[in-house]
Structures are given as structure tokens and as C-alpha cells.
Symmetry: C2
Subunit: 378 residues, 2 copies
Amino acid sequence: MNFDELALELHKKYKGKITVELRDNDELTREKLSAYYTPGVAAVSKAIVENPENLKEYTWTNNLVAVISDGSSVLGLGNIGPKASMPVMEGKSLLFNHFADIDSVPITLDVHSPDEIVATIKAIAPSFGAINLEDIGAPQCFEIEERLKKELEIPVFHDDQHGTAIVVLAGLINAMKVTGRELRDAKIVVSGVGAAGTAIIKLLSKYAQPRIFAVDSKGVISANRTDLNEHKKEILKYSNLSGIDGSLSDIIQGADIFIGVSRAGLVTKEMVGSMDKDPIIFALANPTPEIMPDEAKAAGAAIIATGRSDMPNQVNNALAFPGIFRGALDNGVKQITDEHKLAAAKVIAELVERPTTDEIIPSVMDDRLVPSIAKVIV
Amino acid sequence: MNFDELALELHKKYKGKITVELRDNDELTREKLSAYYTPGVAAVSKAIVENPENLKEYTWTNNLVAVISDGSSVLGLGNIGPKASMPVMEGKSLLFNHFADIDSVPITLDVHSPDEIVATIKAIAPSFGAINLEDIGAPQCFEIEERLKKELEIPVFHDDQHGTAIVVLAGLINAMKVTGRELRDAKIVVSGVGAAGTAIIKLLSKYAQPRIFAVDSKGVISANRTDLNEHKKEILKYSNLSGIDGSLSDIIQGADIFIGVSRAGLVTKEMVGSMDKDPIIFALANPTPEIMPDEAKAAGAAIIATGRSDMPNQVNNALAFPGIFRGALDNGVKQITDEHKLAAAKVIAELVERPTTDEIIPSVMDDRLVPSIAKVIV
């Protein structure tokens, strides 16, 4: 189905997707207005002056996530800036509301350097209970998240990195069960080292230290290359410890798992045929995967996952982020750690009681997801 | 009534005052999610890339006002900072929703210099349809508003200045009718030259060029004083053109109108007695006026207005700002001009069909206010 027309029609009809309402649905008498605003509200402000922790007792910040982007790396659209990225961020706020009853406000930024983005987010941070960074390009997204995590006392989570990594790990845990493998013994090729690829490499490494090879448009990332920026050098801590050089078609030979967060059509049948027996293919390029599922199957793939909702095994961030933030807000968590991410991945995997080749990941509509994940974000 | 207890009780019960809901109340099918978020939303983003004006056709920004404060000058509380000021700003967002069906988000800032505040607001401006500055101290509020008005393409309105000035002018228009005066012939003393006092002086001057004298804690502001900062020197353009020196009790003699936005108990019965016949007293210090209404009446005041809801003639910003922003958003107005403010004041005054000493200003509950004001913000 082509969703473009429906999207334009719905957005035009409602003139946007979210709205602000009052929590108190009873009649707002003049007396109540004097309690919600001046003069009564002064008592509430004084209670927060006395103890800043009261902020979450008395204001909506206890349930509030800012979805923040500079529009520099929007899925399938690239660097479209703050205005054109607003519908995407407002959509993310809709998902927060729909899946996890979280109040969420989209904030799109007209600044783009890490210094300016960090300064702006720090300046507005007291207004929110948590921050979801979204669609900020690599490598600046890494510095931005790292600095904010250090400098703010509320959770900061770049969903393009960690949401994707959590769901990929969840899917791999079940794919290992289905194909009778152990992740720690696997050879894994990750194509694409932007936000998602990097986070996937780090999280898989943290989980089981498998043999990982990262590939960019120039080939395998190895210490022998002279064109690596700081960010790609950092990836060498988690990948290619044996120092192998080569192209994607070289390194994919004998691999157990291919994870693509790169571009459409990059993987050929021959490449799949050169992998280990019963290979696992996560072809996550959107909207067109690195290889189409039917081709991959024909070439011998045991399991294939994509980013698409019209194919089995959809790797979708919406499986993870609503529960992650629900837990962080409810449990007063101030940092989303690697342990939280690993725990969330395991919980997501466990929700599929009997994994099969066509069901390694639960449906995004599974209403056990949010409460189950929230419970482990403590 | 003491509103403190009710305020604490209500804020605790609801854990804040506002919440985000979805505009589309029908079932969110998987198909609709694909239109509201990826992949369908890309078509909406592309439409905004092609024409940035589409932002207001397709996103909630068309009905969205940010209430922004650094918490440096909160009514009756002073410089309490971003966290403790959040309940007040969230209350303002509640008023926007309640009176004008405007979506509003409170943003409290952890930065305080004009440069930092301007940079932060410019950075987040694409996220909103209009900006209401609130409770930012003088004189920095003047520079902040002025720079933002120049540099942004959405309306910026510092309500503590202009909301108050509009309602004061509305009240004075009717007070003139009741006491058979013309504003252009009046001698007016304004006590307090912070955000509100300054805006009142400028708007009255624009409306009728009456003789205005501004008074601060050191006495009448005059060109002979050597202690004036740039902001107070600016006030000399609109006041004390004859260069008179003296104290409040000197200058109030023979005045037709006293407007206090200063502090409790500043005005004595003797001062009121020394004014012109049937003097008009706007004693707007909150929560305790410069002189209590019964005292002022006993000393001969014809009309007295205060900021209090439990006394007649309440000068309340909520009479003006909901309609101002409703009009600005609906009519695509990019700047709130002096002409808009004058027009709004006239409309508010006209809503009182037969003004009397006890009714020069409509009730904040008058549901003609918002549509009537919105109509003249074009």
C-alpha cells in the first residue's frame, strides 16, 4: 500500500497529530483557576523551591518526554532541517502517547553544531522528564548524546542508536535459538556504521563478544586503513580484532549473520550463498532492504528480518522505546545504561514463546511489551 | 479564601495540569500508524520541504504557543529559577487551553543572560506557532523581546508587559467615560517601571499622549537624575517632558490617575486626597495593592481597580492574551504591533456596555472576549 495519500489526507484533516488537554476534566471554576494559577500556584512553586524533587510530584514533567531533532538525518529524507522534520517528530510523540501513555512534545532545532545543540537542550532540560534524541546525523549524534548524558540529570536516549540496537539484539537472541547457534560463537558482518550500526556493534559486543566485522562504503573497517575518522577508529575496539582487510563480498564469506543498516540492494544472492549454513540476514535499510526476503531465502537464508511492516520479522524501534521511557519515568531512572538495554532486549526476545523462522520478534501491537520492558528499567 | 491548600491538593492529585492527547480519536490501526509515522509521514515532510508554509497546514504548530520563562521574576516569588517556575508556566498553558483552545507547552530555561535566552529561543522557534514570554525580569526582558521580534518570523509577546498594558488601557478608557474625562488631558502617575510599568507608559503614550510621570523607589524619573540606567532613560521619551523632580507624594498632587505596579501599601489616604477631583486609582501590586479599595474610596477615589479576583475591576492579563494569540495564530499575524494592542484594548473596553465605577472591565469569564479580540488581530 502507498501510504503517502493517506498521510497527506490525515495530516490535512486534523492539522497535526497531537493536542494539549487538561488533566482535570471537571468544570474549571473561578476558584480552581485561582488554585491552578495565581495566587494558589505560588504554594506549589514554593514547595519546589524547598525541594526540587517535588517538580515531579506537582508538574507534568513526571510523564513528559521531549522528542528532539535538528532534522539533519531523517529516515529516507536526509538533512531536511527543523521545519520539514516536524511531522516526523510529532509522529514520534504520537507513538509515545499511543503505546505508553507518555506525554511527549516534539522540539525541532534550528541549530546544528554539537556545541549549539548541547547548549540548547541543556537550557530547556528543566522543562522535561526525559529526552529522546531523534534523527541527528552521525558522527555528531555520538558526541551530543555523550555530553548530554554527563551534564543532565534526566535520561537522554538517542533512539536511532539504541532503540534499533535493542531490537536487533532481541531478534538475534531468538534467531540463535531457531538455528541452534550461540551468539558468542558467531561471525557477524555489520554493513553501515552510522548511528544504528555503531550502537548495534557496541551492544552485541557487550552482550556476547562475538566476532564482528564492520563495513562501510570503502570496505571492512580495519586498523590498516588511513581514511578513518575518530568515530570509525572507535569501532575498532569492538570489531575486526584480527585486522582483516577486504570488501563486503570478501568478509561476508562464512559469516553466520549479516546486519545491514546501509542501503538498498547492497547484498547479492551470491553473497548470501557464500555465508555459513543457515545464515541469518537482517536487511534493515528502509524502505528497500539490502536484499529482498524472497531472494535471500532462495539463496539459502534461514531467517530474514527487515524494517518493513509488510514482511515478517519487522525490526521496529517502537518495540523498545515506549517501554524504556515508561520505565525510566516511573522508576526515577536518571541514566539509560548498557545493562538496561541488554535487559530490554532479553525481555523483548522472551515475549516470543516459541520463536520460528518467521517470528523471532513480537508484534509492535503486543500490549505486553511496555509493561514488561518498563519493569526492567530500574 | 486561602488557595494554597486547594492548589497543593489539586496539583498532587493530577500530578500536573496538562497532558498531550491525539487529535484523531478513532482507532489507530496499523495502517494509520504507517501514515502518521514512517513510511507515510515522509510525504508530509516533503510537502514542507517544497513549501515551508505547509508547516502550519500539516503540523500542530498552527495552534501552538510556547510559554517561556527563565523563572527570574515570578509574580510574588521573584527569582525562583526554571524548576520552581514550572507550575506557573504550566498554569499559563492551562489558561491558553481553557480560554482560547490553544495548545500550549511550558518551557522553563536554565539560562539567564539575554544572549543565552535569545539563542535558545531562536534554536527551538521552528517548533512553535507563537511565543509568549513570561516572568522574565526587567530590564533584560526588553532586550530579549526586541531581539526576538526582529529575528523570528513568528509572533513574540511578553505578556507581563503588553497584556497588562492592554487591560490597563481598556480599564482607563471606561474610567474616562464614567468620570467624564478625556485621557489626552489627564495627568497620570505610574509607580513602578519594571516590565508592566514601562509597557503601560508606552501604550498610554501611543494612545493619547497624556502627561505621564513615572516614579521609581527614588522618586520621579527625570532627566536631572544621574542614577538612571539606559532603560529608565528610555522612559523619559514618554514621560516627564517638563522635567519635574520630586517624590511620589509631590507628583501625585493634582493627578487624575494613579497606576501602581510597584508594592503593597505605597499609597496613603493623604496622597489620594491630594489628587484631582474624582481620582482614578489602579493599585495593581499583587497580592496586596498599593492602597486597599475601601481606604482609597474613603479618601475620595471615584474608581479603583486592583489585580485581585475578590474585588471589583480586576486588571487581569487573562482578559487579553488568549484573544491576542487566538487572533495571531488564526490570522497568520507575524508581529503583534502597537496597533494590535490599541485595538485589543478598545475591544475589551467596548464589551462593557454601560461602564460604572464598579464595572470598567469585563469579567475574565466573558466568553465574547476571545472572539472579539481575535477579530482585530489581523
